[in-house]
């Protein structure tokens, strides 16, 4: 599966977090004998996907589905437990910090909360200059300052305000500064983790427009992580739907919103509150999301799926290409039951 257009390739990535705690927390007694137990959160289970040059790939799912973990693992902020991550066909998950440096410049991140992600004790100029002079040590001071002014203009913040501190800006302005910080080092790929969730509706529209403008102007590729499904429908090229650390469906936006395949995607999309719709016609799911510490055997969704059969409880479904071009991991779809 070597696609020349693929910018970032995620292959069979697994990420487990050990939350056992200290020695005393791990001791347990079974049958009168002490033993050590390990508790792991299975945040990502065998996730594979390609991100194509120039696209906006949205990752959607509910809280705890592993979408943020995926974003951070791709950037190397978490080392994967197993699996590979490649940037332009070069494997990057096993690089040393020094070897990783050139890739850090090409891959940037925008965080959810612009109140927490900007250092309150640095001025906007310092925030923007720091990554630039770090990654481009050859630039002179005036060149760096020119670049700061240029990028600030591009994201719609008056360069005259560069001497101010983050608290002097509104939420929307701060998110523009976060985006500016990512743009300062001429990245090719940006992971945006819920960049608009903390903002008001009219400000959300401004930031979404900015994100789309940057994509066109600089040919950026995005991995856009969000739970807001109407935003996804607006800006994405393709959408990956995740549930409990597993990729359920990967589809072109039109396919997913036109005819969602995986039962979880169907339930998720039917729950979007639409303007002008009266009452509720969402697909009801039984029960609650299981804990990622004890994953259900077989398909992770089988405890809540209305189409569960014996095979779903036993065998983990693989991602398969369906007739309409979407890819989904579901036994029922494969067998033609739904």
């Amino acid at each position: 599966m070597t696609d020349s257009k693929s910018l970032v390739r995620i292959s069979n990535v697994v990420k487990h977090f050990d939350i056992s705690g200290g020695f005393l927390d791990r001791i347990s007694f079974s049958g009168g004998r002490p033993s050590l137990t390990t508790t792991t959160v299975k945040a990502l289970n065998d996730v594979s996907l390609d991100i194509t040059q120039g696209e906006i790939l949205s990752v959607v799912g509910e809280s705890g589905c592993g979408k943020s973990t995926l974003g951070r693992t791709v950037l190397g902020l978490y080392p994967p437990t197993s699996g590979e991550i490649a940037f332009r066909d070069t494997r990057i998950d096993n690089l040393s910090a020094r070897q990783m440096l050139p890739y850090r410049r090409k891959m940037q991140m925008v965080f959810q909360d612009p109140y927490a992600s900007l250092n309150p004790r640095m001025t906007v100029r310092q925030i923007l200059e720091e990554p630039t002079s770090f990654h481009f040590p050859d630039l002179s001071r005036s060149q760096v300052q020119d670049k700061v002014a240029e990028v600030m203009r591009q994201v719609g913040v008056d360069p005259a305000w560069a001497g101010r501190y983050p608290h002097e800006f509104s939420g929307g302005q701060r998110q523009r500064i976060s985006i500016a910080r990512a743009l300062m080092v001429d990245p090719e790929f940006i992971v945006a983790d819920e960049p608009i969730s903390a903002l008001d509706v009219s400000i959300q529209a401004q930031i979404l427009n900015l994100i789309m403008d940057c994509q066109e102007r600089f040919g950026l590729t995005y991995m856009f992580i969000t739970h807001d499904l109407s935003v996804v429908e607006h800006i994405s090229t393709r959408v990956a739907v995740m549930y409990l650390g597993t990729l359920c469906e990967l589809a072109d936006k039109k396919n997913l919103y036109g005819e969602p395949q995986h039962p979880y995607s169907r339930a998720l999309l039917s729950a979007i509150p639409r303007l002008g719709s009266k009452g509720f016609s969402h697909m009801r799911l039984k029960g609650e999301v299981p804990t990622p510490i004890n994953l259900p055997p077989g398909c992770v969704f089988h405890t809540r799926c209305p189409f569960t059969e014996e095979r779903c409880r036993r065998e983990i479904p693989a991602l398969r290409t369906l007739p309409n071009g979407s890819r989904a991991a579901c036994h029922a779809l494969e067998e033609g039951r739904i």
């Binding site: 509910e62 809280s63 509104s170 929307g172 008001d200 509706v201 009219s202 400000i203 959300q204 529209a205 401004q206 979404l208 427009n209 789309m212 739970h227 499904l229 109407s230 935003v231 429908e233 607006h234 800006i235 936006k253 039109k254 919103y257 339930a267 998720l268 039917s270 729950a271 979007i272 509150p273 639409r274 303007l275 002008g276 719709s277 009266k278 009452g279 509720f280 969402h282 009801r284 799911l285 609650e288 999301v289």
Partner: protein
């Protein structure tokens, strides 16, 4: 028929050293028994203050400066604290955004529910537990008997919000004020909780004031909408006509700023600028610096809500006053 709730020229101010800050600048609306209304606006519009001031939950330095609140014909805004307690959580219930903050983490669900009932009724604890069980099953909580003995942290977010709704139902209120009840929840859980709230209001003939920034949720649940901006109601009317035919430029901007289905990927409409700070509300119409139709009169004179015979609802905008 008397209205369930009537709010007249309500003004809420916050006393600061530098002078009084007007958070709510003369709002008016009525709610009939069993009617569901949405209070919509962005952060800082005053929608939560409006909701809280109905049951005088404004804490210092805030105070109700003028105006009246009539509930079932009684002027509850003039009630002393003791009498107000008989209304709060009894005939008017409130549901807050974060169920983890609303529920007491060190008391079991049962204790909290029984406590609420006993605060308003002179009945035995055993009877109160029965009522609690009945209400828990009304909000579709599985094995309610077991839940009574559990602590809030043992429940999931959606379940906790159901418990909060059950608590708000304990005293059979005739009005529920819900302040962003599903903002902290995931979209599938949000749909479940809102559908539940809608069903309960219909079955029990309860009035609902839903405070939210999510126009999608409002259009699913409510019959009428008040759109707020900088402490004033700028437009109000039946939900359907506001959603399909918004008239105030701010309402129109809000609706156009929402990504709509249909796969288009054009630029989203954006309202320039941001909601003004309460300390520096522009003179005249508060929206005029962000409006694309600003006229001279907008800078000097604040528009009043008014209606005409052709369209349902009221709008506070000079554009329509001129056309008249």
């Amino acid at each position: 028929m008397t209205h369930l709730l009537e709010v007249q020229d309500l003004v809420v101010k916050f006393g600061l050293r530098s002078g009084d800050l007007t958070a709510l600048n003369g709002i008016n609306f009525t709610l009939d028994p069993g009617e569901r209304m949405g209070l919509v606006g962005e952060s800082g519009a005053g929608k939560s203050v409006a909701g809280f001031s109905i049951i005088n939950l404004i804490s210092k330095p805030g105070f109700i400066a003028s105006g009246r609140v009539l509930f079932e014909g009684e002027e509850i805004s003039a009630y002393p604290l003791e009498q107000m307690r008989g209304i709060r959580g009894n005939r008017i219930s409130m549901i807050f955004q974060d169920p983890m903050m609303t529920l007491n983490p060190v008391l079991t669900i049962g204790t909290q529910m029984v406590e609420t009932i006993l605060a308003h009724n002179r009945i035995s604890t055993a009877h109160a537990r029965e009522i609690a069980l009945e209400k828990l099953s009304k909000v579709y909580i599985s094995s309610p008997g077991k839940r009574l003995g559990q602590y809030p942290h043992e429940l999931s977010g959606g379940m906790r919000q159901r418990v909060v709704i059950a608590i708000s139902l304990l005293t059979n209120p005739s009005l529920i004020i819900a302040d962003e009840p599903t903002t902290a929840l995931d979209v599938t859980i949000q749909a479940e909780v809102m559908a539940l709230l809608l069903e309960l209001c219909k079955n029990e003939h309860m009035g609902l004031i839903l405070i939210t920034h999510d126009l999608g949720v409002v259009s699913q649940v409510t019959e009428k909408i008040c759109v707020m901006y900088a402490g004033r109601i700028v437009e109000q009317g039946p939900t359907e006509s506001i959603v399909t035919n918004p008239r105030h430029p701010y309402t129109r901007g809000l609706i156009q700023a929402l990504p709509q289905g249909g796969g288009g990927r054009g630029r989203l409409h954006q309202i320039p600028g941001m909601m003004p700070n309460l300390t520096s509300i522009p003179p005249g119409c508060a929206f005029h610096p962000r409006c694309e139709h600003t006229m001279d009169i907008c800078r000097s004179k604040a528009p009043q809500l008014f209606g005409d015979s052709e369209t349902p609802g009221l709008v506070a905008c000079h554009l329509y006053a001129q056309a008249r």
